[in-house]
């Protein structure tokens, strides 16, 4: 899977789950602010990424990821480790 494919898929599922327009999910946008996440909904972000890309993500890892482009890079690296 390429980073572009990850981005396309991630934008689609994130927009649907967190009820935002895909157009606001830009690479350098802040994830928490854009998706209106609090400490609880961060769990839902992890669950969604795990479900969508069949990877495992720890809570301690997700809190360090600030932007969408960083998220895509993280998921790509996790997929390539498998």
């Amino acid at each position: 899977m390429t980073k572009s494919e990850i981005e396309a898929k991630a934008k689609s599922v994130l927009a649907e789950e967190f009820e935002v327009e895909e157009s606001v999910i830009t690479p350098d946008a802040d994830i928490k602010k854009t998706l209106n996440l609090d400490s609880l909904s961060l769990v839902d972000l992890v669950a969604l990424m795990e479900e969508t890309f069949n990877v495992k993500i720890k809570g301690t890892e997700i809190i360090k990821i600030k932007t969408f482009t960083a998220l895509y890079d993280f998921v790509l690296a996790r997929i390539e480790e498998k």
Binding site: E17, F18, E19, D38, L40, S41, V43, A47, E50, E51
Partner: protein, 406 residues
């Protein structure tokens, strides 16, 4: 000196309708809210009968972060409560500046527990359950969600008393106001309607098997009754101190005259006669009225053999010489369980305000005990100003409310 407690608003989401007008029409016309659900048959249920409700879609009404913690019964309770507050002419700025209590009846939240455990088992990963799981799974999910959404700042807890939950919530709310601890309490009852929540109830053979005629299956007091039909939804009443209600110009609908309660101290599922009779007597005594002032009794009667029989005996024991009309609205709705005590107060108030007593539908042949009661099989055009509502639950918990037209 106890303060007077009045009802200033009502809201309901029921198999008889989603608005008070729809429900009133259904009560008037003897409409049944019961269907045959083929999914339950595929799952192995002995009886596929259930009350029928559409799950509300609150996207656009509540945010994603509000909805994620709400199971089915909290969605129903939100709809009922929003309508009740509107009917009481209470807006958010009043809730923000006053201490409003919340006492809601609920005694299960089975479906979220099942789906959470299924997810964990499938993925061996608890994070996949999502943030909503724990909040949806708890009995107090309804009060948790409503208190956060409406920003209630007073008493905040769920009343779990089996099928008497909704009634006890109203009774306890009236005590809080009467004693000056709260000026307003939002009270009600909610009940999930899904196969997971009632599969074990089905397994003990408690449900009617009259699957060929869903609308005729719930037949409280009828000699040929063969069990209850599970149902649900949510119902909310706004209770308020009388003086506070007058001061803010609230629409005053009725007064809670008395709350009676008891425990049977007997079998876990089979009700006796003494416990319900004591609950009735206590409610009447605390209302400071004469029995012949009571114009209608809304019975608990669920269409079970022994339950209806023993309630009939209890009602006859208390009212023998002054018997008002008695019906069970469960003939139309099925058994709304944790919601029932609250919804049946609303059904009774709708009838009281509109001068009729809806038929106890499907009451075709009395048995030895119900023959001694005054049970109308057809709708009565009747005016009454005081009614009693009974609710009895597993474990022998009993609740009786007396309300008066204002």
């Amino acid at each position: 000196m106890k303060r007077r407690v009045v009802v200033t608003g009502m809201g309901i989401y029921s198999c008889l309708g989603k608005t008070l007008d729809e429900v009133r029409e259904s009560l008037y016309n003897g409409k049944s809210g019961i269907i045959f659900d083929p999914i339950r048959k595929e799952m192995g249920f002995l009886s596929a009968l259930t009350g029928h409700l559409e799950i509300p879609n609150l996207k656009g009404v509540l945010s994603r972060n509000q909805r994620v913690y709400m199971p089915e019964e909290a969605l129903y309770a939100y709809c009922a409560t929003a309508d009740a507050l509107k009917s009481a002419k209470i807006e958010q700025d009043y809730l923000d500046t006053h201490e409003i209590g919340l006492l809601y009846g609920n005694d299960s939240s089975a479906e979220p527990v099942i789906t959470s455990v299924d997810t964990m088992r499938e993925h061996k990963d608890t994070t996949r359950i999502g943030s909503g799981g724990i909040f949806k799974s708890m009995n107090s999910t309804v009060t948790m969600n409503l208190s956060c959404i409406f920003k209630f700042k007073g008493m905040n807890l769920t009343v779990s008393g089996a099928c008497a939950s909704g009634s006890h919530a109203i009774g306890l709310g009236s005590l809080l106001i009467g004693d000056g601890l709260q000026d307003m309490v939002v009270c009600g009852g909610a009940q999930e309607v899904n196969p997971y929540s009632v599969c074990s109830f089905d397994g003990i053979g408690a449900f009617s098997k009259r699957e060929s005629e869903p609308g005729k299956a719930s037949r409280p007091f009828d000699k040929n009754r063969d069990g209850l039909v599970p149902s649900g939804g949510a119902a909310t009443v706004i209770l308020e101190d009388y003086e506070t209600a007058v001061k803010r110009g609230a629409p005053i609908i009725a007064e809670v005259l008395g709350y009676g309660f008891s425990s049977n101290g007997d079998h876990i599922s089979v009700p006796n006669v003494d416990g319900p009779a004591r609950s009735l007597e206590m409610a009447i005594m605390r209302s400071d009225i004469q029995k012949n002032e009571i114009g209608y009794i809304n019975a608990h009667a669920t269409s079970t053999l022994v339950g209806d029989q023993n309630e009939a005996k209890a009602i006859f024991k208390v009212f023998g010489d002054h018997m008002p009309p008695v019906t069970s609205t469960k003939s139309q709705t099925g058994h709304e369980m944790w919601m029932a005590g609250a919804s049946e107060v609303i059904y009774s108030m709708l009838m009281m305000k509109n001068n009729f007593i809806g038929a106890n539908i499907n009451f075709e042949t009395p048995d030895e005990d119900s023959a001694k009661l005054n049970i109308p099989a057809k709708r009565l055009d009747a005016h009454f100003d005081i009614f009693i509502s009974n609710s009895f639950g597993f474990g022998g918990t009993n609740s009786t409310l007396v309300l008066k037209n204002l």
